[in-house]
Structure formats: structure tokens, C-alpha cells
């Protein structure tokens, strides 16, 4: 330390020397020094340091004590703490050393402002050692002859200084070498100890600021010995099954120390130690016989020792040694019970005898076998049956009756006292009353009230109720004087079925059962609720009971919680026996969320949400609406039909206007070539002008509707024209009208106006029965103005058929017309045609054009034309149209066809020259 500080001082003075102008080449000499050098100061004390300047420096440097500046590290000490003692000495005083730090330097302001260091010192601040307290020593035996004394003490506060502790011990007039602790300051171990001499022990703490001694401890080291625990402990079994002999060796011989002992032992697997009374082992010894042990039981032994007079310390417990006592005969018979299976036949029992293995302390050895003796009590003559069994159950087949079963357990030493079980024919005796349970911590207490008569013992059966498997019966026997037992091994949250049977000397009472939980929990899941039926204002909810495993307790009630999406929850409590509930007063057509909660005594759990929507209409409401509506509709229809039926003539007149019968037309009157026919007059009479007025009514209607184009009305116009211009003219209509196409007819009619005027050709008159409006194409009756003469064969029948008809038979006439002309065509065909035309109304327009163009390209006679038509139309259609000449397209006549028609028409007349206008 000193040398170091000399170095520091030299360093400081070197700086000064170099800076001094006159230090060139001289010895390195300090310009001053501080007193005291390297002080060690007590914390909190005051301290004064002096800086003494050398005279030599004063001369050349003009430096004086007044210029001295004190510094702690780099911090200038306030001037108030300085005192100039004389020209060369300045002192600084610190009232509290805690403000000090290293280094403390003395500096000088030389040549104005240049600060130069003169000298510096280290300052060490600390505390004097405290008196060590709580000195205590213990002598550990390390080996047979080696003892180590370890003393510990409380070193007191930290001193901040290097403090040396030493343990000192002495005899009167003899001081032993000190024990100096290594690495620690609160304990030291002495290896060479002398017993039987009082030794004074104390601790000395020393540092730069002082020295402190503990109170001395005067002790004979033999009195603080902690001996080694006995070694080589061995256990041997004695002659008696309740005794084990323990032997060991001691580490300490008698002359040094006499010992006393503690022996502890326990059954293997048990944690509680038992101790041999200490007064039995209070004298020196190397063996001990432990008595009162259980037969055939493994024990663990451990031993410790200390000085006999009890002064000193107990040794550690020795290593544990085990020993087994010898076997003894079983102390009691095994508890026995039976399960009787009468399911096969009531008269023949299958008796399962079951018994419990004896507990180790009862069995006193290894049970080699059980001896079962069955005596039939009902018949004295019956032999006693004996069975030797090694398991703990035995099954017998017995006839119904009263039996006495005796059971003996046997080990290598002997047999147990017998256990007797009486199996009566029936459990006719009084049962226990008031069976109840009560949980007691982890056990379930079962209590009952004894029957009036004396009970030998009770059998308590219990089993875990499970939905998936059978009840596995456990049982226990209680003595007849108890009225309650605690069942162990009962799991919480499980349902147990407990049955108690009283056993009498001469019979057995019937069992009383109770269900119990050791501890209830809330159900592990909530019931899953569903709707069975949903109505307008009510819903039938249904759910399944929770399984026993899910219940975790007695279900006290179910709670149904339901709500609409934004409404409040409604709570309904339901009896736990129910599985269905009807919610009423619901709002119709509303989404409801319902969930269900099952509650036990210790809580409840809610099942999943179920949503349903109530119906808009109640039951029968729809029917109540629909049925009257339907009935009303039907009534209206019926009325309409009746009305129509009543007014059918009027309707018919509107829909099917009366068309004059061509056969009765007096065409001969307007066509000079045509000779007057017979029956003409009659025909004329039949169709007077008045009948045509009806036709004109249709025309008016068409006008009203304005949907009728002029073209549409043309046929009527034509008709009128025909009537007006050539009234009564007629042609062999009938079959020929069928043969001629409507277009022809229409074109005829158009052309007819011109041809009538210009040419001499005689035209067929055309009667067009227009499709009424957009309705089904109406039959068009064309009166051909063809020049082609009517065949007699064709004309005749028509004349005949139609000629003699009255107006009332007009309809029939049309039919006849079809029927006669189309002999080969069936009636359904006509119907089909109608359908097809219906369906293809739109197409037909195009079809018409096609037909027309076909006609133009092949301007042949009627026969050819017919072929063309056949090619264009389907056969069916064709065949039908032939007879009927039903052509809606006639109404929507294409102007183009009007232009073309004459071309095709005129040559036709030329070609068919055979039929010249007459």
C-alpha cells in the first residue's frame, strides 16, 4: 500500500516538477505532502488532513498555503473547510468521513490559473468490528477416533474493511493455536480436540479500526459431541412372531463416551414411525429386542445414539434396516357374503359365496386355502359338504332352502376362527328402517335405524350405478351394534346404490336401498332440447334424460329458458321426471331460441341452444281459409256454367254466327251459267236475308274491338259483297270447299272482286268462318269461286245432306261436311289438328308463306296443289285440313300472296280446262 502510494505521490510531483521552470535536471522531488498518509477512518467520524509545502518550492514558485485547493477525486472541497495554519501548511476538515472518497488531493494554483497537483492520499473509510455474538460449538464425530469441533458465530455488521476473525480456545494456562476461518467469517473447525477438560472458546474480530472479542464459551468438548450413528444395524426374527431383534455396532468406545439410544420402527409402506420407549434403551448396548410387533409383517428399523447423560447432540438416524416377523395363525375368519341368482328357476339357486381376503394383520401369514362348509339346515339328514378353495369366491348350486355356510382361512401355522353365514330360504325378517347417507369428507356415511329384534350383523352392499354396465357389487359387514358405517373408496360425483341387509341369528331381513352421492357436481352437460311439434302459439319440447354419468348428482329440476331474438328470456322450471313440455303463449311466426338447464344440488348446466320458428297460421287455419275459397270458386264456376247453359243460344249466336248453308244458296240466281237446281227454292227459303243480318252483327263487334284488321274483315266484306252483288250464288261447296285451300279462297276473294268485274270466269263463292279474334281458328267455310265445276258425286250428297236441313242443324252440317268428305279421317284427327294449329300458330305464318311459294313455283292444278300441301304439312294436318279448310292464316293474309295468287289461280283454271265455268 505504501509503495503504491509513493508511486502515486511521485506521479503527482513529477507533473509539478516538469511544469516548474526550475526543475530542469534535478531530482524528482515533491513540492509537498499530506499528513496523515493513507488513513483508515471510522465511518461518521471527523477527519483533518494537512498539506505541507516544501520550503524549496516556495522560493521559486511563489506558492503559499493560501493557494492550496483540496480535492476529493475531481471535486473541489469547499473553501470553508480549509484553514491556513501558516505560510506552508493548509488543513482541511471533514465533519463526516462518509463524504470522503479516494483520492484526496492537495493542489495549488500556480502562476495564476494553472492548477497543479502537489500530493494525494488514499482514504479508507470503514467500521470497527462488532462483538461477535451467538458463539456455539458442536463436536462432530468424523470417524472412530476423529472429532472435529465446529464453532459458529454471528460476525455482526459489515465493516467495509478487511476484518480478520479468529477462533481462540484455551485451557487455564494453555492457549491453543488459533483457528482462522477460510473463506467465511462466521465459522471455524478445530480438528484436535481434547475431551474432559473444560475449554474456553471465544472469537476475536480484528481490523484496522479495532478489535472485538465475543463472550467466552466454556465447555468440555465431550458435552457437545454429535456422535456417528450406529453402524451395521441388523434385524433378526426371534422365536416369537411378535419379536424382532436389532443389533448394531457403536463408533464410540465406552471409555470415551457411554451412549444411550433411540430405536424407531414402522411397518413397510406406513409412514408413521413408532418408537421404543427411550427408558428401555437409555443404557449402553449393541442390541435390542423389539416386542409387540404384528406377526408376518415387515418392519423398518432405524437407530440413533447420544451421550448417555443426555448432554450433547443426538446422532443422525442410522440407515434403515428391515426385518419380517414370523407367521402366526389367522386371528379372525374372513367376512363372508353371498349373491343368490334365482333367475334360472326359483327353486334352484345359484349361490355365489364371496368373501374378503383377510387383511395382513389378520391373516398373520400367507393364506394357503379357505375351507367352505355348507350345511343344509332344512333337512338334518343331508350331508355336510366341504370345499377347499384358494380364491375368495365359490359358486354353489343349491335347492331352495336354509343353509349355513362356514368359512375358515388357513395359513402355514394354523386355521382361523370360523365365519358363519346363514342363508335363509327367504329374507322374511324385519328390514332396517330410515336408511340414509351423509358425506363425511372423502367417505360416505351410511346410517340406519336398527330393527327391533337383535341383529347379529349388517351387510352393506353398494355399487356404482352406471348406464353402460351392470352394478359391480361391493360389500362390507358391520357389527350388529352399530347403526352406521363409513364407506371408503367412494368416488365423488358418482351415483351409488346402497343396500343394507340385517342378519339375524335365525334369518335375514330384506334389503333396503338408497341412492347417494358422496359429492354432487353440476351436470357434465345440459339436456339437448328439441321441438317435437311447433304450432302457432305453442311448441312441444322434448328431451332425453341425462345419463347417470352425466348427471353428477340428483337432478332436482329442469329449467327451460326460451326467448325471441330480441326479447327477454323466459324461464320455466320443469319436474325432473318429465321429458316433454309444451311452451304456450308464443308469438306466431317468430324465431325462438330455447335451451335447457339441468340442475343438481350443487349447480346446473345448460344444454345447447335450439332454435325454432313458430308457424304463421295455426292448425286448421289454412284449411279454414282455403276450403271456403275453393267452395266459393266452385260455386261461381257452377253458376257460370248454369248461366252459360241457360243462355247457350245467345252465346252460340255470338260465338258461332249462323252461316248460311251453301247448299241452300240460290247461286243459280246470280250465275247465269249455272242452271237452277232443284231444291234451290227451298234452300233459299231456308236462308233468308234475315240470317245474314246476324253476320253483320259480328262485323260490328269486330269494329268495336279494332283488333280486327281490314284484311280480317275482308272475308266478311266479301261475303257481303257476294251477297249484295251476286246474291244467292252458289257453287258446289261441300267437298270442293274442302279441297280448295283457304288461301285460295282468300286470294280468290281478293281477286274475285277484279275477276268478277273483268273476266267472265265464274268464281266459287267463299264463305269464311274467320277465327274469332285470337281464339282457336274458327272453321272457315269457303265458298269457292273456282270455275271448276263441282262433281256431281261430290255435290249430291252435300246437297242431300245439307239441303233438307233446318237452321237448327247448321252445326251438324259442318260436321257432316267433315264426316262425309273425310270418310277416311277419324274424328280425333280433327281434334289433333286443332291442337297442332294451336301450338304452331306462330309458325303457321311462315308455313303459309312456304306454302304460297310452293304454289308459285309449281303452278299446277288442284291435284298438284294438293301434293304441295301434303309436302308442306304433316300428313295428319293435311288430311284434316282437307276436310275442314281451317286456316287461321287466311285472316292474316300476306299482301305478297295476294299478288301471286292470280298467277297460280289463273293457269289453274286454264289447265283444269275440264271444269269450265258453266
Amino acid at each position: 500500500m505504501f509503495s503504491r502510494w509513493n508511486w502515486v505521490a511521485c506521479g503527482f510531483s513529477l507533473v509539478l516538477s516538469i511544469c516548474s521552470p526550475d526543475a530542469s535536471g534535478g531530482l524528482v522531488q515533491s513540492c509537498g505532502h499530506i499528513i496523515p498518509e493513507s488513513p483508515v477512518l471510522a465511518l461518521g467520524s471527523n477527519f483533518t488532513a494537512l498539506c505541507i509545502l516544501n520550503e524549496s518550492c516556495l522560493d521559486f514558485g511563489n506558492i503559499y498555503a493560501s493557494q492550496i485547493i483540496w480535492k476529493i477525486k475531481n471535486r473541489v472541497v469547499p473553501k470553508e473547510q480549509y484553514r491556513e495554519i501558516n505560510r506552508t501548511v493548509s488543513s482541511v476538515t471533514f465533519n463526516d468521513t462518509s463524504s470522503l472518497a479516494t483520492p484526496l488531493t492537495c493542489n495549488i494554483l500556480a502562476d495564476g490559473q494553472i492548477e497543479q497537483n502537489i500530493y494525494g492520499i488514499t482514504v479508507t473509510v470503514g467500521l470497527a468490528p462488532e462483538k461477535p455474538k451467538n458463539l456455539s460449538c458442536i463436536v462432530h464425530q468424523v470417524s472412530r477416533f476423529t472429532y472435529v469441533m465446529t464453532c459458529t458465530w454471528n460476525p455482526g455488521r459489515h465493516t467495509f474493511l478487511d476484518t480478520q476473525f479468529r477462533l481462540r480456545y484455551s485451557w487455564p494456562g494453555e492457549i491453543f493455536p488459533d483457528c482462522i476461518p477460510k473463506d467465511v467469517n462466521n465459522s471455524c473447525s478445530v480438528t484436535d480436540i481434547q475431551f474432559f477438560v473444560n475449554t474456553e472458546i471465544w472469537v476475536e474480530a480484528t481490523n484496522a479500526l479495532g478489535k472485538a472479542e465475543s463472550d467466552p464459551l466454556v465447555v468440555d468438548p465431550i458435552d457437545i459431541v454429535k456422535p456417528l450413528s450406529p453402524q451395521n444395524v441388523s434385524v433378526s426374527s426371534g422365536v416369537l412372531p411378535t419379536v424382532l431383534k436389532l443389533s448394531w455396532e457403536n463408533w464410540i468406545s465406552g471409555p470415551v463416551m457411554t451412549l444411550k439410544f433411540n430405536i424407531r420402527y414402522r411397518i413397510v409402506g406406513d409412514t408413521n414411525w413408532m418408537e421404543v420407549p427411550s427408558e428401555d434403551t437409555a443404557s449402553p448396548r449393541t442390541s435390542f429386542s423389539v416386542q409387540g410387533l404384528r406377526p408376518y409383517t415387515e418392519y423398518v428399523f432405524s437407530i440413533r445414539c447420544m451421550k448417555e447423560d443426555g448432554v450433547g447432540y443426538w446422532s443422525d438416524w442410522s440407515e434403515e434396516k428391515t426385518g419380517i416377523t414370523t407367521e402366526d395363525q389367522p386371528s379372525k375368519g374372513p367376512p363372508i357374503w353371498r349373491i343368490i341368482d334365482k333367475s334360472h328357476s326359483p327353486a334352484c339357486w345359484i349361490v355365489h359365496l364371496i368373501w374378503k381376503a383377510l387383511k395382513p394383520f389378520e391373516a398373520n401369514g400367507v393364506i394357503l386355502q379357505y375351507e367352505v362348509t355348507v350345511r343344509d339346515k332344512s333337512s338334518l339328514s343331508a350331508p355336510v359338504k366341504k370345499y377347499n378353495v384358494t380364491s375368495t369366491n365359490h359358486t354353489l348350486q343349491l335347492r331352495e332352502g336354509t343353509y349355513e355356510v362356514t368359512l375358515i382361512a388357513r395359513n402355514s401355522v394354523g386355521a382361523s376362527p370360523p365365519s358363519v353365514l346363514l342363508i335363509p330360504a327367504s329374507n322374511s325378517k324385519a328390514p332396517v328402517k330410515n336408511l340414509r347417507t351423509l358425506p363425511k369428507q372423502d367417505k360416505l356415511w351410511v346410517g340406519w335405524t336398527a330393527p327391533n329384534s337383535y341383529v347379529l350383523k349388517y351387510v352393506i352392499e353398494w355399487c356404482l350405478v352406471s348406464s353402460s354396465s351392470d352394478c359391480i357389487i361391493e360389500w362390507q359387514i358391520a357389527l350388529g351394534d352399530v347403526q352406521g358405517i363409513e364407506l371408503k373408496g367412494i368416488k365423488p360425483f358418482k351415483c351409488y346404490l346402497i343396500t343394507v341387509y340385517p342378519l339375524y341369528a335365525d334369518g335375514q331381513g330384506s334389503g333396503q336401498s338408497v341412492k347417494a352421492y358422496l359429492k354432487q357436481d353440476r351436470p357434465s352437460k345440459g339436456p339437448t332440447v328439441q321441438t317435437k311439434k311447433v304450432g302457432k302459439a305453442e311448441a312441444v319440447l322434448t328431451w332425453n334424460h341425462l345419463t347417470v354419468e352425466e348427471q353428477n348428482g340428483f337432478i332436482r329440476n329442469y329449467t327451460i329458458l326460451y326467448k325471441t331474438i330480441d326479447g327477454n328470456e323466459t324461464v320455466v322450471t320443469v319436474d325432473p321426471s318429465k321429458t316433454e313440455y309444451t311452451l304456450s303463449s308464443l308469438t306466431s311466426d317468430t324465431l325462438y331460441t330455447v335451451r335447457m338447464m339441468a340442475s343438481t344440488d350443487s349447480g346446473s348446466r345448460t344444454g345447447p341452444d335450439f332454435t325454432f320458428t313458430t308457424q304463421k297460421f295455426g292448425k286448421g287455419e289454412i284449411e279454414a281459409i282455403v276450403v271456403p275459397v275453393c267452395l266459393a270458386f266452385l260455386l261461381i264456376v257452377l253458376l257460370g256454367v248454369l248461366f252459360c247453359f241457360n243462355k247457350r243460344d245467345l252465346i252460340k249466336k255470338h260465338i258461332w254466327p249462323i252461316v248460311p248453308d251453301p247448299s241452300k244458296s240460290n247461286i243459280a240466281q246470280w250465275s247465269p251459267q249455272v242452271p237452277a237446281k232443284h231444291n234451290f227454292n227451298s234452300k233459299d227459303q231456308m236462308y233468308p236475308e234475315g240470317s245474314f243480318t246476324d253476320v253483320s252483327v259480328v262485323e260490328i263487334e269486330a269494329d268495336d274491338k279494332k283488333s280486327f284488321s281490314e284484311q280480317d274483315l275482308k272475308p266478311f266484306d266479301l261475303l257481303k259483297k257476294e251477297k249484295t252483288t251476286s246474291e244467292g250464288h252458289s257453287s258446289g261447296i261441300g267437298g270442293s270447299s274442302c279441297m280448295s285451300s283457304p288461301r285460295q279462297s282468300v286470294s280468290d276473294s281478293d281477286e274475285g272482286e277484279t275477276t268478277q268485274n273483268t273476266s267472265s270466269t265464274v268464281q266459287y263463292s267463299t264463305v269464311v268462318l274467320n277465327g274469332y279474334r285470337d281464339q282457336t281458328p274458327v272453321q272457315v267455310f269457303s265458298r269457292s269461286e273456282s270455275t271448276q265445276p263441282l262433281l256431281d258425286s261430290e255435290e249430291r250428297p252435300e246437297d242431300h245432306a245439307g239441303g233438307a236441313d233446318s237452321p237448327a242443324q247448321r252445326q251438324q252440317y259442318f260436321r257432316q261436311n267433315g264426316g262425309q268428305d273425310e270418310i277416311n279421317t277419324d274424328r280425333p284427327c280433327f281434334e289433333r289438328t286443332k291442337q297442332i294449329t294451336h301450338a304452331n300458330e306462330g309458325d303457321l305464318v311462315g308455313f303459309v308463306q312456304l306454302q304460297i311459294s310452293g304454289q308459285s313455283s309449281q303452278p299446277l292444278g288442284l291435284g298438284m296443289e294438293k301434293n304441295t300441301q301434303e309436302a308442306a304439312l304433316s300428313n295428319v294436318l293435311q288430311t284434316c285440313t282437307e276436310g275442314q279448310t281451317v286456316r287461321p292464316e287466311t285472316v292474316e293474309e300476306n299482301p305478297l300472296s295476294v299478288d301471286e295468287m292470280p298467277k297460280c289461280y289463273l293457269p289453274q283454271t286454264v289447265r283444269q280446262g275440264g271444269y269450265m265455268p258453266q
Partner: protein
């Protein structure tokens, strides 16, 4: 007259009892305790010496380690205090004389033993000898303690740090070994006899006796 005497005696004893200094009491109690302790120590030393002597004689080698080796006691061995005093004579001595004799003998024996300790070759044996020496030193102190507790003055002479033996060293190795042999043998005898002494003294100064002595001193 007698009964009056006893009565006054008891009265005086009772009156003086509270006045008795506590120090006295503890001192007297300590006497019995220190006798017991000294006895224990003697037994302990005997026990130690038994093993130590065996080891040391083995170290000396034959014939010293032979069980029946019984050499004649040489004249030069006389410097070792002998315990071969007639037993009756020994018993006839006062406690004080016996304790003083013990004290002196062990002080001397200790001196020789320390010399022996310094010469032993093996470290283990030296260690055990050193330990034995320290114990023997303790015995000397204990005897001193017992004597002072019983109120006997310590015998003058080699008390405290024992003086080095003035006798010159043995002329040859065998004679030196013979000295060592006799030293151990005498130690054994002394310890054996001391144990008896202290046992007797222990019985002589039981707690009851201590009380009587207290009363006597009170007068």
C-alpha cells in the same frame, strides 16, 4: 445439651445459608464435577494409551512389541516417576498427597513424552502422540483444578510448563527404546492407579458431602 447443640448448629446454618457467597456453592459443586471429569479423562487416557502403546511398541519393533516382554527396570529408568509404590501405602496417603503425587508424576511424564513425540518417525504416530500429550496436559490441568477446588495448594515444582529433563540422552538406540518402553509402561500404571484414585475421590465427594462441607465452612 446435644440437642441444643444440634439446634443452634442448624439455626446458624440456616442463618448463614443466605449469606453464603454463590461462588462458594458453585465452586464446591464444581469440585465433584471436576473429579468426575478428571476420572473420565483418566479413563479416556488409559483407553488412548492402550492403542497408542500397542502402535508405538510395534514401531519400536521386537522385542518391545512382544506381549511377554518384561525387561528389568534399569537404573536410568528411575528418572521416570514410578507408580510401583505399595498399594496399601498409597492408600494410606491423604487425598492431597496422592493428588500432588499424581500431579507431579504426570507433569514429569509429560515432559518425557514430549521428547519422545519429537523423535517419532511416522506422522500418524506423531499425531497420535501429540494428541495424547495434549490430553495428558489436560489431565495435569484437571488434577490441578481438582486440587484447587478441594482447597489444596498446588505442589511446587514442575508445574506449568514442564522443565526439560536434565538427564542426558540414552547412550544407544536400544537403551533409548528401553526408556520409551518404560515410559509407556509407567504411564499405563499411573493412569490405572489414578483412575482408581479419582473413582475413590469421586465417591468421597458426592453432592451430599459437598453440602456438609459447605455447612462446615459456613461455620
Amino acid at each position: 445439651g446435644d440437642s441444643w447443640g444440634i439446634f443452634t448448629f442448624l439455626c446458624a446454618a440456616l442463618c448463614n445459608l443466605p449469606a453464603l457467597p454463590a461462588l462458594n456453592c458453585s465452586e464446591e459443586l464444581g469440585a465433584g464435577q471436576s473429579i468426575q471429569q478428571t476420572y473420565d479423562l483418566t479413563r479416556y487416557l488409559e483407553h488412548q494409551l492402550r492403542t497408542l502403546a500397542g502402535t508405538y511398541l510395534n514401531y519400536l519393533g521386537p522385542p518391545f512389541n512382544e506381549p511377554d516382554f518384561n525387561p528389568p527396570r534399569l537404573a536410568r529408568a528411575e528418572r521416570v516417576p514410578s507408580a510401583t509404590v505399595d498399594l496399601d501405602l498409597w492408600r494410606g496417603l491423604t487425598d492431597n498427597a496422592r493428588l500432588a503425587a499424581n500431579y507431579r508424576a504426570y507433569s514429569r511424564l509429560l515432559c518425557y513424552l514430549r521428547v519422545l513425540d519429537g523423535q517419532v518417525g511416522t506422522a500418524e504416530l506423531r499425531h497420535r502422540l501429540a494428541h495424547f500429550c495434549a490430553s495428558l496436559q489436560g489431565l495435569v490441568l484437571s488434577i490441578g483444578g481438582v486440587m484447587s477446588s478441594l482447597g489444596y495448594p498446588l505442589p511446587a515444582g514442575p508445574a506449568g510448563p514442564p522443565a526439560p529433563p536434565g538427564t542426558p540422552a540414552a547412550p544407544n538406540d536400544f537403551l533409548k527404546k528401553m526408556d520409551d518402553f518404560w515410559l509407556l509402561k509407567e504411564l499405563q500404571t499411573w493412569l490405572w492407579r489414578s483412575a482408581k484414585d479419582f473413582n475413590r475421590l469421586k465417591k468421597k465427594v458426592p453432592p451430599a458431602v459437598v453440602t456438609l462441607r459447605l455447612e462446615a465452612r459456613g461455620f
